[in-house]
């Protein structure tokens, strides 16, 4: 019976993650396109889009130096399904489903109760937070799988055999090689695990030392890249609040107002202001509107009308926390520690709360909710009524979420997914042979990657004609390749011969003849295709 239930939940999880995977979200976001094209490039040339042989620590891509994990995981999917949306998103959906299964084993290990394990698995299977990231090519989702595997194997090391410490360490390493956010999570969760299982670590110090040594060797290249190179520090410096000069400015103003008195140096110390900023960002992680009503403010990261968790979760999570502490449960330290350390890394960033950067907090909420539900069930009198009410409430909100996800969200927010590029490339393919030049606006960002992806351009051919530039922020941009010219102001480009112009919105180059338009899913025009013969 339990096995059958587990299989049903996993099948449900797989269905929810794979159904219409190629068309909802409505199109490939530029990061997804970049991951996909780099994986394609690795598949056919063993080099990335810039010609680097099998990169180990990073893929330069747009100059954002993406971690390599997701790209390598996408290579087999592209080999199997071709270079398309489904293949690019498949690793995320596949490992997302495995994460649901892993939650079952983790919950069973922590609570030693089948009902809690099955409920936690079910809650993660239908979680809006996890579904959102399992249905897009998000490195964070693959990173979550690896860190969860690391935690589970660590528990196996602590409760079963010492040998599990090595695969656990390797899983944590894989997480850090897959998603940058994991680099600020893994050290903290390791502290929590090490503290909880300090006796087991001391008892198996030889195995632990060997695992640390092997991990250190494997981690070294990444460590050097992240700490010793400008490219490695770039992303952190770009998003961190600690590079923000506003608190220093504020501190100076306050101190000036107090005539730079000694007490002002203390009360308006810039370090206090930074600490306050950090705390605000930390508390944001538990913002109720983020968790329960609206979700992440970024429309790519949530559907905007449902929180990251369901309403029912609030009561179940609170109950779970209550019973964990009240019963002095052995899993309390790990689960609550995990919950509290998860926002420590993301809180250093300007945009908070951030569902993507904080995804490693999953599945703590689901574990707590499952434990809360089972504990409440045991003490409540009207058990059947309680279960039926919870079930109906959850199903109603889940159906509402699905309705919003499949019918409202793609239409309202297709622009957030750079909708229109695929349709554009397919139209241009029909005009390509007759044109001498094709001038494309950069207004929607990084058009070159979509032309490479949807035209399946051989990376070796692309590199022969690519005009690659690097700006002062180290971002890499492409101004053209082959017949294509990418520019911020297409109207200023007047190459000889027949030229196709792709412009954004209402603007058309003077004297051009409109050929067609491409609309977003909400009906707004996104691209206009026109032509001039000079």
């Amino acid at each position: 019976m339990n096995k059958t239930l587990l299989i049903i939940i996993i099948l449900l999880a797989a269905f929810l993650r794979l159904y219409k995977l190629g068309s909802v979200p409505p199109s490939l976001y530029w990061d997804e396109a970049s991951l996909g094209y780099n994986a394609y490039s690795i598949l056919i040339t063993a080099r990335d889009e810039h010609g680097r042989f099998l990169p180990g620590t990073n893929f330069a891509a747009f100059g954002d130096y993406k971690p390599p994990g997701y790209i390598y995981a996408t290579v087999p999917a592209i080999a199997a399904f071709g270079l398309n949306e489904f293949a690019i998103r498949f690793p995320s959906a596949f490992f997302g489903t495995l994460t649901v299964l892993l939650t079952y084993f983790l919950a069973k290990k922590l609570f030693e109760k089948e009902s809690i394990a099955l409920l936690a698995t079910f809650f993660l299977a239908i979680s809006p937070w996890h579904l959102q990231f399992s249905r897009g090519a998000f490195e964070a989702n693959l990173g979550l799988f690896f860190s969860l595997l690391g935690i589970y194997l660590f528990l196996k090391f602590a409760t079963e055999k010492a040998i599990y410490i090595l695969p656990s360490a390797l899983s944590f390493l894989a997480a850090m090689y897959t998603f940058t956010g994991q680099r600020l999570f893994v050290p903290f969760i390791l502290i929590v695990l090490a503290w909880q299982f300090r006796q087991q670590i001391l008892k198996n110090i030889k195995s632990v030392s060997a695992a640390i040594l092997i991990s250190a060797v494997l981690f070294w290249p990444l460590f050097i890249f992240v700490t010793q190179t400008i490219e490695g520090k770039l992303r952190f410096n770009e998003v961190t609040i600690f590079k923000d000069l506003e608190p220093i400015d504020r501190s100076n103003r306050y101190r000036e107002r107090d005539d730079f008195s000694w007490y002002s140096d203390i009360t308006h110390n810039r370090r206090f202001l930074y600490a306050r900023e950090y705390l605000i960002h930390y508390f944001d992680a538990f913002e109720p509107s983020f968790l329960f009503t609206k979700g992440d403010a970024n429309p790519r990261l949530s559907v905007q009308e449902v929180g990251e968790l369901y309403y029912l979760d609030l009561f179940l999570i609170l109950a779970g926390i209550y019973f964990l502490i009240a019963q002095k449960h052995k899993g309390a330290f790990l689960i609550l520690g995990w919950l509290l350390v998860s926002p420590l890394g993301p809180a250093t960033a300007r945009e908070t709360p951030h569902a993507l950067r904080m995804i490693h907090i999953l599945p703590t909420f689901q574990l707590l909710a499952a434990f809360g539900l089972v504990s409440l069930y045991q003490i409540i009198r009207l058990k059947k009524l309680f279960l039926v009410t919870c079930f109906l409430f959850l199903v109603a909100q889940f159906l509402f979420y699905l309705h919003i996800y499949y019918f409202h969200w793609p239409r309202i927010w297709s622009n957030q997914w750079q909708y229109g590029y695929k349709q554009l490339v397919y139209q241009i393919n029909n005009l390509y042979d007759d044109a001498d030049h094709i001038v494309v606006t950069k207004a929607l960002g990084r058009p070159y990657i979509y032309f490479l992806l949807y035209r399946q351009v051989d990376p070796r051919d692309y590199l022969k004609t690519a005009k690659i530039v690097r700006d002062q922020f180290f971002f890499i941009d492409v101004n053209g390749f082959d017949k294509f010219i990418f520019t911020g102001s297409p109207a200023d480009e007047r190459p000889p011969g027949k030229t196709i112009y792709i412009t954004e919105g209402a603007s058309l180059p003077a004297g051009s003849q409109l050929l067609s338009t491409i609309n977003q899913l909400d009906g707004k025009v996104v691209f206009r295709i026109s032509t001039i013969t000079n």
Binding site: F283, E287, F292, A326, L399, F407, I412
Partner: protein, 145 residues
């Protein structure tokens, strides 16, 4: 010394300026109602059965979602800090810890969850005062520990 420290903390909590928060109650929810119903049913209108549209986008669900937003905002930790200061956060948490774990009186717990909902229906603009009250009670409970 202990009482002096608690007194200083209480002064910090009481003297903290109340945050300027946007109005969020039954009136604002009612204002949002026609706009949301129109926009949501318009999107559904293209290819959804009427029954589905009625089930998901009706006055009850939209009102509860709008009021839910207002209600949940009350428990935002940053709102607590802005209302009762950073020094008030610890006694605020201690208050909840005591109420839930050490003296779990269900009427008290129920009251704590119901009280923040009252301003949604009755004009009571300074809902932030409640956080000061919770924090001060937390301090008193700490002092009596």
């Amino acid at each position: 010394m202990r009482y002096a420290t608690l007194l200083i903390l209480a002064i910090f909590i009481i003297s903290k300026d109340l945050p300027m928060s946007d109005q969020c109650d039954r009136a604002t929810a009612q204002t949002a109602l026609p706009v949301r119903i129109f926009s949501e049913t318009t999107i559904d209108g293209r290819d959804q059965p009427v029954l589905v549209t009625r089930f998901f986008h009706n006055k009850v669900t939209i009102m509860s979602s709008e009021l839910g937003r207002c209600y949940f905002n009350f428990f935002d930790l940053n709102f607590v800090v802005n209302s009762a200061s950073l020094f008030g956060l610890l006694p605020w948490l201690y208050f909840f810890y005591r109420i839930f774990l050490q003296i779990p009186k269900y009427p008290c717990i129920l009251a704590i969850f119901i009280i923040p909902a009252v301003p949604l229906f009755i004009a009571f603009p300074q809902v932030a005062y409640l956080h000061k009250v919770f924090a001060i009670i937390g301090l008193v409970l700490w002092a009596k520990r």
